[in-house]
Amino acid sequence: MTSESATPAYASARARGLGSSRRRARALRRALRRVGLDALMIVVALIVLFPLLFALSTSLKTGAEVDRYPPTLWPHVLNFGNYPAAMQQAPLPRFLLNSFVQAGAITLGQLVTASLAAFAFAFVEFPGRQWLFFLFLSTLMIPGEVTLIPNYLTVRSLGWLDTYPGLIAPYLATAFGTFLLRQFFLTIPRELQDAARIDGASRRRFLWMIVLPLSRPALATLAIYAFLSSWNQYLWPLLVINSTGMRTVQIGLALLQSQEIISWSVVMAGVVLIVLPTVVLFILGYRHVVRGLTAGAVKG
């Protein structure tokens, strides 16, 4: 298309040629930019994930390779022995069980208490509703660190130190979850409630048969959010639990780290094991995690 000759006869053709070549150049630049950005995105993903990938790779190295300097990126010999070793140095299956009981009970409890409370706030008109709702929201302003010492004393006086109730009870209600569900309940048409009442359904039946089934997405969001945050708790379990057998995974890992000689490949195997449940949950429930984190923030 580009013409070498500059004779007047071809002037207009040349101009057209130039125009299209400029367009081509621009398209080429845009394509290059796109490819560059694609490459950048992959590099950035690798950097962000590097600590995790490196932990995974370390967990598959032999003891000798871990201590080698310079460090190797990939295990030269795949060694799965660190996983059984980690389970031997610390009762990880027991810790996993404890964490599942703790996080599972908190999740279930929050689903129940938050649906009930949100239902009252969304569907029952009662005197003092606004005031009580404000009281709920006010708990969001009180950080757990402030109630830490008295709660420890309470749990101790109840004889709940080193027990599941001690781990679970303080977290059985959630202002955030109540707020989240109330916002969702408010989108359910009022007519449904009227129709249910005309059909002679009680409030309880309306909640159970209509509201909750319709609210499955919001319930899933709350469940995933509650499970992730209680699974990852650190300070409270550290205070309440003092026997080895009752530790949750987060504080149980310290056992691997406090060995006389730290074997990093074993510690990283432990890390991989305790991160796995939340990683699976995160990948499967990504939409819900995002919705939970941005709930009030973006949608109002």
Binding site: P51, A120, R129, T139, P143, E145, L148, A175, M268, F282
Partner: protein
């Protein structure tokens, strides 16, 4: 009569939550105020009313003043860095290309990683002898740094761990904000002849500024309440260089058994957190009105 019945019905639905809040939020808050005004026994009982003497002692104690200083410094290291690292990731994640969902998951992945796991991974990477960070430094002939044992480097090292672990949250919030910026707004600015940078600086950044602020406040709240990474990486050391407020409360209450003093510290933390939470709610409102 009817409204009294409605109230009773409502209370039946609310009672479970109210009971938990009463026992584990409101009562302990009052109890904490009380503890902070008393001299306490090592077992946590009240021994003598001493008014504000715990507070007076705090504000003259070099330890406490140090923990405030460390916490502020910690915020300076982590909050801006969290935004500076999070925003480019969110911008990339906001592209409309095939397979973007995978990138979004990757960029916000650290949400799935607990602070304990993050701290252990970083402790391994920061190992002075066989850690990968010192190896990378040695490639550019850098010195071998005792990241967690050198008072100058311990706090930045803990901060780096924290920035990485909270990156996922920042990306999710900033991405949500970017997705809320109307296409027409950006298009219009382009047509008016705005270059990439100009459009970004003068159109996109103002549009997401409430979200940027929100992320900053949430990160600050996170710093005020951080504990796990310090407990695992440095135990507040070396020589108090990473002794953040919550770690200091933990030490005073559960190692020195000075519950009254620790309760007073917790009250100071409460006031700080409250100030930032109010700020957060205020921004919240503004953000919502933007949509």
């Amino acid at each position: 009569m009817k409204s009294a019945y409605a109230l009773l019905q409502a209370l039946a639905y609310l009672i479970a939550s109210l009971a938990v809040f009463a026992a584990f939020v409101f009562y302990p808050l009052v109890r904490n105020v009380q503890l902070s005004l008393y001299d306490t026994t090592p077992f946590g009982g009240l021994s003598a009313f001493i008014g504000t003497r715990n507070y007076a002692q705090l504000f003259t104690s070099p330890d406490f003043l140090n923990s405030l200083r460390v916490t502020v410094l910690f915020a300076v290291y982590t909050v801006p860095a969290g935004i500076v690292c999070g925003l480019p990731l969110a911008l990339l994640a906001n592209r409309r290309i095939r397979g973007i969902a995978a990138y979004r998951t990757a960029y916000s992945f650290t949400i799935a990683v607990s602070i304990a796991a993050a701290a252990l991974i970083w402790e391994w990477m920061l190992d002075p002898n066989v850690g990968i960070l010192n190896y990378l430094l040695s490639l550019v002939h850098g010195p071998r740094i005792g990241w967690l044992t050198d008072p100058h480097w311990a706090l930045p090292a803990v901060a780096a761990t924290t920035v990485w672990q909270s990156l996922g949250f920042n990306v999710v919030v900033l991405l949500a904000a970017l997705q809320g910026v109307p296409d027409e707004l950006v298009e219009a600015a382009r047509i008016d002849g705005g270059g990439q940078w100009a459009v970004f600086l003068h159109v996109v950044v103002p549009a997401i500024s409430p979200a940027l602020f929100f992320v900053g406040v949430v990160a600050t709240l996170g710093v005020l309440q951080s504990f796990g990474q310090v407990h695992i990486l440095t135990q507040g050391g070396p020589v108090g260089a990473t002794n953040v407020i919550v770690y200091s409360i933990y030490r005073n209450a559960f190692f020195n058994f000075r519950f009254g003093l620790a309760a007073a510290q917790a009250m100071v933390l409460f006031v700080l957190v409250l100030a930032f939470t109010v700020l957060q709610f205020a921004v919240f409102e503004r953000w919502v009105s933007y949509q």
